[in-house]
Symmetry: D2
Subunit: 352 residues, 4 copies
């Protein structure tokens, strides 16, 4: 940690800060410049609250050197971590990127869901997605079928041998979700619902953590840390767009660079959701490709058997027909990426 | 609602959309321009999902005319609503702006809290604030004393005859919070935790709803609507800063204009929190004044008996000494505003 | 255009607005709803100033239907426009994506520039980039070699048979730049320097227009319109990142979705600049790939013979060695994209 | 400056960085932590380019300690600077806040302008504002009357003994503007038009520098530095709103906190422009008051003799009637602030 003192800080104020830091176990190096004094404190930054230090008289700024996340950091695990599901599907590292598809919300029409599931299976997708509990900006919009939706999802996934991913919105619903889901999703609006992060951190099922609509990369990785430090290491991140300066042509800005950035600073897998990231159907294919080629470990996208009558997010869902078309091209790209990954993996394993 | 069709939309696509809208009970006016056709649909927009309409072939854009919030809207209640507490304190309308002060987190040192409460009482403040359950970006930071904090808050407020405002982070904790709090706070990060909004909507205690760090005014008022449509009309809004382009000199951008904007579009009271809004001690006073003169119905600010050793947010807390100094000047301003408000009220009541 | 009246607007206010619009040649359709009246005005929106209409008493909001840009719009030119250079290089449409590489600033060391140019030529790049006049946030940073840099660029490009792209910062410098450049760049900070846009609009050389750091897509296309309506139709757009909520890990957010969005609403070519977009060397390759696969017509990136001692933007420049490595992989991707484009083109020309 | 090395940086890489910094005249203090090494470099940071340092192998991050602006910094001038005009009007420090009013654009109707000028004079305003050259997002909007507007402004200001403030958009127009203006405005979109900053830096008339729509405080002060380091110390800053996440209810977010922040880090005067900051007439009064009470040295606002027919920005202009009403209340507030300032000044001068 670096504590920058004000140009006018007194010798007394400087010494007080040095004592406080030494008292917390930090090793101190004092740099007295012509204009201002800078205190470098070497040690475990988690022992102090930098904001609290910043409030002392004579302190201008406190700058962190080490990242505040630990379990999620690349340093703690130099190899990419890989999440493995009971049926053998793997996400992360050199594994082939996965596909998670399905409707935004699960609806009354089970046959419609089944048609989506069969198409997804046919195209080689591994996960069936669908909302049972829906966070909606307006209270007058459809809120989800709740348990009925979970039953539907389970049935459709069993018939097609796929895995279920669905969102949990509240700690109270968690036990129910755990009965049905293979991968528990934390939605973007709940990325900093810390009670919920703690609760899924104590589960033994993998968690899909979506980035908040205005979360920095650091806040995103710290949210993962909340889950991991409660015991659950099987966290998969999901970039789904951040709020931008312009929402006329795109719902959010899908931050493709977040993928290689997360891979540099963390060992966790990361996927992308171009449906929510852009909110426009015609943007799904180019943005899915962009995410994959930038290193995403998978793609989540919305597919509906009848998007015109979807009870939520129709504008960003593909029809089954459109999905097959898009997926055919994505599979071609995934195949190439997988080939390159295997070459890389071989090089890596023989220590090149 | 306005449905704008693509320049290339076919007559068939246009007629399909007209039928759908008529089927939902809308009265239709068709405007066939040279370049494109525009369908105006008059009716209750809550009967349809605009995103779903936008997904039909041939549709370029769906534009809302009426605000999607109803109970929170100014139209539903032309007079300002006023929230009244059991001890007679009122917030909103022409009432004198209130002050909510106290530490960010309630800590082990009860005497420290008591000293803050006594100073707050002495300066005429009405609410004692303090966190019992603390949402923290990092899992390694202090998470709050939980029930013990609530007991302390209750005791300090009873001794000083103040009201308690504290945050609820999870539906599970709500019954406990209800035993101790007079005003239940929903934190910024939980502004779209819809399960929690629904839960406090079913309570009969007033709710203080903080604006999310990247929430638009519309999302903010829709979050209030989630509470109100569950039965609880006693909602007080709180502007506490939104994420900006620059966090070097200020934690957030306190959006002062949100105060007069909310007052135009809604009847709900709104207060401001300059401590969280700016995150710097020296900005609290000018920003509290700016909020008050722009029409805020109250100010929430952090005061700690020993900010240098606060377990959270020390850099944005005032010491007791500083608080008294600042509050003296704020009281002078509040007095003037109150005088002007009473003049306005009199004019209003005699119909000028 | 849609004029939404206030719920309380009087019949008189409504009629006044109708008359004004009719006076401007609009055809009016009046939709009188239960809550509010909506006026649809069909005609050329460029005849009125919507902000001015919005200021009339009784008006709540004015919503535009047609895009305010015309020459840049897809409607005005359904086929992609292609910019052709004297040596036969083409940018846009189904043409093979181009590469523009070179140092951020041209420096004293001509041999260094020559080495970059030779490497670029060897790897098949078409444009040599380099700053002669440098916009710098701080006045104490290197401001460019001015004419000397232009002489160097010209010489290096002639020896390698490449085209020169360089930035003009001021109308006064334009005649000089025109003597040396094949493609005139308008920098991001000058995207709304309308005098400069007008000046390059009167030139007969192609213009590379960079998106402003906080410009919406609409503002971006309107800036292009400023150039085009002065006579110069050879505009190439460049996405180079917009300001985001988090600048810790990335200088800007490279908005990859802007590429397919621009292609939908405009016929102009668009390239991407991952060096400025991200500001980190390790992000250049994945982001260049993402831009290309999302449809970019070219990539601009910074290459320096000695990045450690570059006088500007070293952190986001590739060394010659790194560049060759990256370019080899980009060429492979460009080859595949070109192949797919030719297939598409053939389908398109036979009307499939 | 602090150079943070990567955890895996080699001893060689560390020593190389130390040598480079010593070569530039920095005094080095090396802090070798358990995880990573941190190099503190004490000296004049303007001798090196931190981005260039960041590009060396083994370097994780370079953090600046000292602000990169010097002439604009509070350290360089502990007392507030005051800009004095030939007629004795002063801006800054303890001086009474000034008012700059007038139409967005000067139009054909000279009598209209004269009526605004007379009302402004009557209400005690010091500056007449009006655009002669107008930067417009769309090329189809009114671009200004150019020299004719300057003649009108001059005449109206001479008849009312007011000062003229108007915008210069291009270095070519500067000589003309200098003939007519008392205060030269640099518009928000030109805040980083460095050639223009340099040109006004070489003039001997005061400059009003508006904050760019997405500029950080640091970029804002560095833009002022561009002017000052060319010789012109008479710079007045103007906060006019930054782009926010929500433009439905407000054109921009007027960043009131920028006022006390600038006053802490710089000695330059700062005013606010609530017309552009909010873009809605009803927000002008509360936001002007908020800016004044937060410490603004003046207010700029748009007044038009016939806002309904203004050729630009009608929606954010006050009519003459409305202006007088608003100004009466602002004058009352300005009077109180002036009184408080004089008390402060007296305390300050006798060294309390």
């Amino acid at each position: 940690m670096i504590v920058v003192m004000e140009p006018k800080a007194t010798q007394e104020q400087i010494q007080k800060m040095v004592k406080i830091l030494e008292g917390k176990g930090f090793k101190i190096v004092l740099n007295e410049g012509e204009v201002m004094t800078v205190i470098a404190a070497i040690g475990d930054r988690r022992l102090v609250n930098p904001e609290s230090l910043a409030s002392y008289d004579g302190v201008r700024e406190v700058k962190l050197i080490q990242e505040p996340f630990k379990l999620a950091s690349r340093e703690s695990c130099p190899e990419d971590s890989v999440v493995t599901f009971p049926n053998g599907v793997k996400i992360g590292g050199y594994e082939r990127p996965v596909m998670m598809v399905g409707p935004c919300s699960v609806e009354q029409d089970f046959d419609g869901l089944m048609r989506v599931a069969l198409a997804a299976k046919e195209m080689g997708c591994q996960f069936l997605r669908g909302g049972a509990f829906k966070p909606r900006t307006s209270p007058y919009d459809f809120q989800g079928l709740e348990e009925k939706a979970l039953v539907y999802l389970k049935e459709a996934s069993e018939k097609t041998n796929m895995l279920v991913v669905t969102e949990v919105m509240d700690t109270l619903d968690l036990p129910l979700i755990l009965d049905y889901a293979d991968l528990i999703q934390i939605g973007a609006r709940n990325m900093q619902n810390f009670k919920l992060l703690k609760a899924v951190g104590k589960c033994n099922k993998p968690v899909l953590l979506k980035r908040g609509p205005a979360a920095s990369i650091r806040e995103f990785l710290l949210a993962a840390e909340h889950i991991m430090c409660n015991g659950n290491q099987n966290v998969i991140l999901c970039e789904r767009g951040v709020k931008g300066l312009d929402s006329t042509y795109s719902r959010n800005v899908l931050d493709i660079a977040a993928i290689p950035i997360v891979k540099k600073y963390s060992h966790l897998p990361i996927i992308a959701d171009p449906s929510h990231g852009c909110g426009r159907r015609y943007l799904i294919e180019p943005m899915a490709k962009a995410a994959l080629i930038a290193g995403a470990n998978g793609i989540m996208m919305e597919v509906h058997h009848d998007p015109d009558n979807a009870s939520s997010d129709g504008a960003q869902s593909l029809s089954i027909e459109q999905f097959k078309d898009v997926q055919r091209r994505l599979n071609k790209l995934v195949g190439r990426i997988d080939y390159d990954n295997q070459v890389e993996k071989k090089k890596h394993s023989i220590g090149v």
